[in-house]
Structures are given as C-alpha cells and as structure tokens.
Symmetry: C2
Subunit: 74 residues, 2 copies
Amino acid sequence: MPPEEDDGIRVHLDRLLAERGMTLTQLAERVGVTVVNLSVLKNDRARAIRFSTLAALCRELRCQPGDLLGYEPE
Amino acid sequence: MPPEEDDGIRVHLDRLLAERGMTLTQLAERVGVTVVNLSVLKNDRARAIRFSTLAALCRELRCQPGDLLGYEPE
DNA sequence: CCTTTGCTTATCGATTTTCGATAATAACGA
DNA sequence: TCGTTATTATCGAAAATCGATAAGCAAAGG
C-alpha cells in the first residue's frame, strides 16, 4: 500500500466541536452530510473539499474557513 | 443555462497577489497549476479545491487557508 | 499598427475525489 | 446488555479538478 501522502492541510473539527459542545453526529445531521464523511474530514483523510460543504460547516459552526482549516508546512 | 449557484465561499487571491506584488501568471508558475485554473479560482468559479492545491498556494503565498478563503453568508 | 503581457472564458477528456449507503467494529456509560 | 458515538472499509455514482488548447480582450509600449 502506498504511503499516505500529507499535504499539510489540517481540519480542526475537534476543536470547533468541543467549543460548541456538539457531537460529530449532531453536526452531520445539521450540515447534511453523513457522519462517516465528517469523520474522514476530521481525521485528515480527505484530499479535497467542496465549497458547498465548507460553507455548510461554517454556517452551522458559525465560523470562518480559517477556523476550520490550517496549513502546517512539513 | 442554470443560474450560477453561490455557496458563499470567497477566494481572496486578488488581495494576496496585490500584497505580494505578484501576478497571477507568476503564481501559477510557482504553484504548478495553469493560469487558467487559477483564474477560475480567483473569480469564485471553482466549486471545490484539492488540499494539495490549497497547500501549494499557502506555501507560495506564505499564508494560511484563512487568508485565502472567506465565508460570506448570503 | 504591431507585439507583448496579463487575464478571462470556453471546451474536451482523463483522472481524481467526494459523497451516500452500508456494514463491521470498538469504546464507553447507564 | 443496550444505546450512543465514532472509526474504518468497500462499493458505485456523481461531481469536480486540472491540464491542454484555443480564442479573445484590454492595456502598455514600441
């Protein structure tokens, strides 16, 4: 199996969830994506994101993309 | 033709480019994407972005995703 | 005029990836 | 023993990136 490539983008869903006192499942329902896909996103397994999904997350978490995404040069 | 759907995500490449005194063409060369695709991104015509592209942009512009992406509720 | 530079727009096709559905598993607590 | 929550995997369809290419426009400079 090829090694997992890491581009340096981090998705800080954990932090936001904790700050909002919300579970991943709750967020999934509100945002309209499955908890499975949200889990993938949260654990940095996603390689891209649709702006529609990013917008829905920002809307429900009342935050900006910058609160969700971080770049960590390796 | 179906109306352009707007999810509220804005890509502030203009601002970053101006701050860095860089042209879109120059950035395209450094990042490794065509100027065509960068133009699409800059004018909010993209519906998604790969993290590899986002990371490359952040690297060359020495910025964070939050500097590049904004969410503007409609 | 003519050329160059910078940017935009469009189309095509290949490739990549999301995303939903589903299922299996595990940890935790009541 | 349940129920909740989360993770991981697989499958398939739909969506979108992205490169290549071409055409066009505007501005600047000769």
